[in-house]
């Protein structure tokens, strides 16, 4: 049994079977990659894990508890964070404030009436936020409006926002898409360090095979809503079916 267990999940959109009998088990403290052609249902699967969508049938267990029927914020409080495919950040807030919000969420839970306390008095959290920004090379943009960042930077910011919560399970939907090579490499390094230094499980969707093969411990290939194969990166690389349906020349 892994920390995340997906059993027989089905999801239809009208006539389209977006997910069909998906079974997936992610072991604790590993990096599990999900790859597959466009429209395979990868993001849909992720949406079912964080409460954005509710599967038609099946069960999703995290850390021994079902996540189905819970609100997104409850699921986050259980220890799941997610990086979206198109960056979701607080565009009107500064980069620094974007970092403080997940910290408060982590410390205070889903709601707390702290109306008279003063953000500037939270020395500890501030230091933590700045440290994280430094780790993702964004400390120089601390006081920028997040909305005016370039897209690569938005993506890095979002990832930092998720990481700073020290989730048990981090879901990454194409974290390096649109990132410059150098930053992609930095991100890979960052994720590797984090994986080593903390207890964290990651589920990552990527089309960049360089990222996938650098990070993943196991890979699931999804096609047309069903898992095609699940194996180690080496095996997947050589898998003929995967090559044909997905990797193409890249392999």
């Amino acid at each position: 049994m892994g920390i995340l267990d997906v059993r027989d999940v089905n999801k239809r959109f009208g006539g389209l079977q977006a997910l069909g009998n998906v079974n997936l088990s992610v072991a604790e403290n590993t990096v599990h990659a999900i790859i597959g052609p466009n429209g395979a249902g990868k993001s849909t699967l992720l949406n079912c894990l964080v409460g954005k969508l509710i599967p038609d049938t099946g069960s999703v267990m995290f850390d021994g508890q079902s996540v189905l029927g819970r609100k997104p914020y409850e699921i986050n409080q259980m220890g799941i964070s997610r990086v979206f495919q198109t960056p979701e950040i607080f565009g009107d807030l500064t980069v620094f404030e974007n970092m403080m919000i997940p910290l408060f969420a982590k410390r205070d839970g889903s709601f707390r009436m702290h109306a008279f306390e003063g953000v500037s008095h939270e020395r500890g959290l501030i230091a933590e936020a700045e440290k994280m920004l430094d780790e993702v090379n964004m400390l120089d943009k601390r006081d920028f409006h997040a909305g005016s960042l370039s897209r690569g930077d938005k993506r890095r910011l979002e990832m930092a926002m998720c990481l700073i919560q020290r989730p048990k399970l981090l879901l990454l939907d194409e974290p390096t898409a649109g990132m410059a090579r150098a930053d992609t490499n930095n991100t890979i390094e960052l994720l590797k360090t984090i994986k080593k230094s903390r207890d964290i499980t990651m589920c990552i969707i990527e089309h960049d095979m360089h990222v996938v093969f650098s990070l993943a411990d196991r890979i699931t290939v999804l096609a047309q809503g069903t898992p095609l194969v699940e194996d180690t990166p080496e095996k997947i690389k050589g898998h003929p079916k995967v090559k044909e349906a997905y990797l193409g020349e890249a392999a």
């Binding site: 964080v50 609100k71 997104p72 914020y73 986050n76 409080q77 964070s81 997610r82 979206f84 979701e88 950040i89 607080f90 565009g91 009107d92 807030l93 404030e97 403080m100 919000i101 997940p102 408060f104 969420a105 982590k106 205070d108 839970g109 889903s110 709601f111 707390r112 009436m113 702290h114 109306a115 008279f116 306390e117 003063g118 953000v119 500037s120 008095h121 939270e122 926002m161 919560q165």
Partner: protein, 400 residues
């Protein structure tokens, strides 16, 4: 100090100084000069400035921070007023219990309406709040007449019980509102040369309450809570996936701003113990929206400025009649005098709405951030000029 940053503290001190000196600042013209018409330093208007300032500050906590545009906030003000007047009728003419009750009742009311309305967002939320407020207005205006006295408005009367006070004074009049004996309408007049300054107990009470309200608003703006509210405005989706529940935050903001409105309503009734149903109508809700946007939504001081601006127009411009105009332009030759008066006439007196409408348009077209932005622009201009002056000075020094 007071848990505020340096900038906020100086803003608070500035506002405090301005409100305390308002009787002087708002009466810049000698009473017998033609411009005395523009003096705003009399108790009623000064009270209105700060009371509607409170209303707008509270509204801004909801709208400026979360972006939820309520079109029904006047209902809370109205409920606050009714609560206060009932307190005057039943309990005593002391304003303290009245104000406390109006805040509480408005808060409860806001909790109920907010709980339902906040299930929707955007325009749907606005219309829900509008619907609730219009319902309250219609009920207050007719069906609930026994409680609200309908269109006339709830007034205190000679035969009210007032269990902790007196029903009527010894000389058979209705007692007046007071703060532990200090009568709200007590006014000291100071005459200095041609000037006349009025210091009203009621105004100073309102001003102090406003300062406290303003201080609390600053604290809210700078708190984690305030940040969450801005986050709600920016991206609710992200907020949910960050483990935060937006609903209680928005509801708390709604209730707080409802209580500010109730406070304003209570103060209004304390200064003039009548609660009219019109103050709950949609136009009244619209007015606070306009005040906030006009001053600068999301800024600390903007709403107060906006409130002052609108109330000034309403009270001063509506009083400029042809008689006054002729007085001003009397120095012109007759024909020209009439001509000028004819030109100005449509914009003042009964035309004050026209001027107000034009002002709204001008402000929003030329100062997209409201009056605060106007101030900032002037400040920037000033700073730039000063900077370049200094620059020049620096360049010139070596030449000496």
């Amino acid at each position: 100090m007071l848990g505020l940053g340096k900038k906020d503290l100086s803003l608070l001190i500035l506002v405090a100084v301005l409100t305390m000196l308002a009787p002087f600042l708002l009466n810049p013209f000698p009473t017998d000069s033609g411009l005395a018409q523009f003096n705003a330093g009399y108790p009623d208007l000064m009270q209105r400035f700060v009371i509607f300032g409170i209303f707008a500050i509270g509204f801004n906590i909801l709208f400026g921070l979360t972006g939820y545009l309520s079109f029904g906030h006047a209902a809370f003000l109205g409920v606050g007023s009714y609560a206060a007047v009932w307190m005057f009728k039943l309990l005593s003419m002391n304003v303290v219990p009245a104000i406390i009750l109006s805040v509480i009742i408005a808060g409860v009311f806001a909790l109920a309406i907010g709980y339902i309305s906040l299930r929707r967002s955007g325009i749907y939320f606005s219309i829900l709040t509008l619907a609730f407020a219009q319902m309250s207005f219609a009920l207050a205006y007719s069906v609930l007449t026994p409680i609200t006295n309908g269109e006339t408005g709830l007034q205190i009367a000679l035969d009210d019980p007032r269990i902790l006070g007196v029903s009527q004074t010894e000389d058979g009049s209705i007692p007046v509102t007071h703060f532990f004996g200090i009568e709200m309408r007590a006014t000291e007049v100071l005459r200095l040369g041609g000037w006349e300054f009025q210091f009203s107990a009621g105004y100073y009470l309102c001003a102090l309450v406003m300062l406290v309200a303003f201080y609390l608003a600053i604290r809210i703006f700078r708190s984690p809570f305030g940040m969450m509210l801005r986050a709600v405005k920016s991206n609710q989706q992200r907020l949910y996936y960050t483990g935060l529940n937006a609903r209680p935050y928005t509801l708390a903001a709604f209730v707080i701003s409802g209580m500010y409105a109730g406070l304003a309503g209570g103060l209004l009734a304390s200064m003039d113990p009548l609660a009219g149903a019109e103050r709950m109508q949609w136009t009244a809700s619209g007015e606070v929206v306009l005040m906030t946007i006009l001053g600068g939504a999301g800024t600390l001081i903007g709403p107060v400025l906006g409130a002052g601006f609108i109330k000034y127009f309403e009270n001063i411009f509506s009083k400029l009649n042809d008689n006054v105009l002729h007085g001003w332009f009397a120095f012109l030759p007759d024909g020209l005098e009439d001509f000028v008066v004819t030109i100005v006439h449509p914009f003042v007196g009964k035309g004050w709405h026209l001027t107000l409408g034009l002002m709204f348009m001008a402000v929003v077209i030329f100062l997209p951030g409201g009056l605060v932005e106007g101030g900032q622009r002037i400040a920037r201009l000033f700073r730039r000029r000063k900077a370049s002056d200094e620059h020049r000075a620096a360049q010139e020094t070596p030449a000496e």
